[in-house]
Subunit: 488 residues, 2 copies
Amino acid sequence: MSKEVASSVGLEWRINVSDGTSQVLKPTECRPALSKIWLWLKGLLGGLIVVVRRFLETAWSIAVAEPRKVVHGLKLGLAISLVSLLYYIGPLFKGFGGNASLWAVMTVVVIYESNVGATLCKCINRTAATFLAGGLGLGIHWVADHAGEKAEPVILGISVFLFASAATFSRFMPMVKARFDYGAMIFVLTFSLISVSGYREEMLLKFAGSRLSSIATGVSICILIIVLICPIWAGSELHRLIHQNMEKLADSLDACVAEYFKEDGKTTDSKEDQDYNKKMQGYKCVLNSKAAEESLANSARWEPSHGMFNFGHPWKQYLKIGASMRNCACCIETLTSCLSSEIQAPTCIRNHVRDVSIRLCSHSTSVLKELATTIKTMTKSSTIDILVAEMNFAVQELQNALNSLPSQFIPPELMTVEGSADAKGECATESGMPPLLEVLPLVTAVSLLIEIAVRIGGVVDAVEDLASLAEFKPARDHKRPQQDKTKP
Amino acid sequence: MSKEVASSVGLEWRINVSDGTSQVLKPTECRPALSKIWLWLKGLLGGLIVVVRRFLETAWSIAVAEPRKVVHGLKLGLAISLVSLLYYIGPLFKGFGGNASLWAVMTVVVIYESNVGATLCKCINRTAATFLAGGLGLGIHWVADHAGEKAEPVILGISVFLFASAATFSRFMPMVKARFDYGAMIFVLTFSLISVSGYREEMLLKFAGSRLSSIATGVSICILIIVLICPIWAGSELHRLIHQNMEKLADSLDACVAEYFKEDGKTTDSKEDQDYNKKMQGYKCVLNSKAAEESLANSARWEPSHGMFNFGHPWKQYLKIGASMRNCACCIETLTSCLSSEIQAPTCIRNHVRDVSIRLCSHSTSVLKELATTIKTMTKSSTIDILVAEMNFAVQELQNALNSLPSQFIPPELMTVEGSADAKGECATESGMPPLLEVLPLVTAVSLLIEIAVRIGGVVDAVEDLASLAEFKPARDHKRPQQDKTKP
């Protein structure tokens, strides 16, 4: 309407362009509906292409970074193909019956998990729950059968209702949740299927038998493939996660302290800066890996002996080590806020604690790295006691350095009275700020460093418990290479 | 052998009992094998009874604490019973076919989850994946059918291998993992079943149709029951978790600071002590709830409007609030180590910062509690700005108190020179320890309190973002009841 008015009166809209002239704005023409739909479709298609492309790019980057994830996918393909053979090849197919083969394929797809432990857990759960529910279902069916035609559906209905409810409720219990969650579901499933189907068909035993045999086929093919071809063991993963996190923790502590005490004039290029930032963020991995650790530990306890680990390896102790590392990581997280503090302590006070702080940090990281090596190689460290003693000595040194600080806190009005104070006057009077507030972040940082050393003691204890529980071998004397490297 | 020697020579073993006399230790007789087995069985049975009893006790305590978990179990029982009706009642049964009814029961058991969102997620995943895989399977089957008898199994085999591998690999991608993990599994399952069964049976369309109709039946019954009878919404759970955690954080901060500055003479009874300890541990809940928050937020985004929440409620913002709370909790965790420090600051210095620290803490907890109320009632707070200003003012006050401290740090040898220092000499010379080390935990604790206040600022920002994203209503003026209560 307004457009029509504008064109009939001869009005025109102009805008000023950057070169000083002005241009007429022409009203857009009313595109036909088809063209609009075409544009919309083009937009949709374009969006779809972008999404698919991004999806493929992510997939490619994951595949390149961890090829074993691709292998994992291929292994499932292989397992299904093998099970399908049961169906393709005539004689086998006749032996099993159509449905049974479908059950076998379903078993493979459903129990196939990202690591051996989780798959075994599901296998055992599925098998045990199927047996249990099958037995119970047959028993109740027998009772119902003998109770008369009228009572039969009532007995079956009530039993399904009660057992399904109870089993579902039990999944809320921590112990069941951690180990038998899948089993409880399969129990409900099998029990319901047997009760429901049993009422109509009089071939319960055959049904149960074919289900069991098909599950056995699926389970055995699945286990064979997952264990024999590039297995991913939950235990090894947990082991790796823990020692890698410990190294990250050490790097993170190192980077934080170096960043805090770095000299102002020093410049770094942007790539180095990025590496540095990445290192510094390592503590976040430690803080966030609780769920992964617990799930891996839950899976690992189902795994048989593999590599360096026996069945019954103390996986729970890894969780304790993880918890003690998170304790440290929490302190480092708090330490990072000292980094961003705008208040800077006077240079002379900074220098006073700088070297000894860096030394404490380097001893602390040495201890962490030695612990990481201990876990990685599963050998008792011959130098850990010395390293811990050195760390404790550094704590003592830092405390001594703090003790010798107070003479620098003298308020300016006192400075003139005492000669010895005069010499240090440049520190206290450098800025107009009162001294304690000025050194507050520094004192806090130093105090946190000491606390971190104390908490590293906790990590040492947890790792030593692991070493004795898992009977680590004593190390040969080849140690202390990284200790020399990290010395300031 | 040795026993025989001992009895033949007349040796006897004695032990001293508590009343001073000694008793002869008689060698145990060789029990017959049956009796041993009986004992072993008795032990086994006893152990079993203990385990079952403990299991039932845990179940009972969970049921009493959260009756809706029992209701959740009963709901599944009801859903299965309803689906079973399809089987019991003749006409319906004939319409569906035996297998279809089994599929319906299976669908109910498998998609039934602990909250509405997770169930809907599985429903939608299952339905969409079944359609997608069904269509694809039929298409490939058609291609294979027209490719000749020899090429058919090859094409089917290769396609199953490739699609199953690709879908399994895609489950490693974070986006798929978070939303479509179950869908990817069902895709593999359905596609394999169709390809495998399709080779033998020439009733693919009927198979697919019956599978879809049975899934639809199972899904609709499951959704009806889970939504209509005492629904547990993931969104509401997340909402509750967040504001409860915020209250726990406030209580925990309160308890920590009260514990740190409590007067030595004050005694508390053991029940009060227990409550206190429980309150103090609240920050651990916050630190440990990351996984729960993420899983609830993932489920919540599938839920339709319910209660106070619309579809598209900014659930992701809750994760940000959770992260900012964990930041605070980390600081409180570090603060707790100051509690256990053996070094105590001189009483006069403690008293100097005590009141103002407690004031800061009370203002901080007021802010947290106000934020918890904001989230709980979903109304914008009218007082939060004042509370934050008061908290910041308390930070300033605490910094001022620290500023006025330095004159108490004068080393003893300087004390005699200046009259004003003499008055405070009792503080610095109270023990033989040098002052800074003595006040180190106190200064650290105070510094952490200030840092906690800064981080609470982050929580305030996150909650305000939520308030604007979710368009919280402005509150009516009924506020500040809890603020008055928490004032010292």
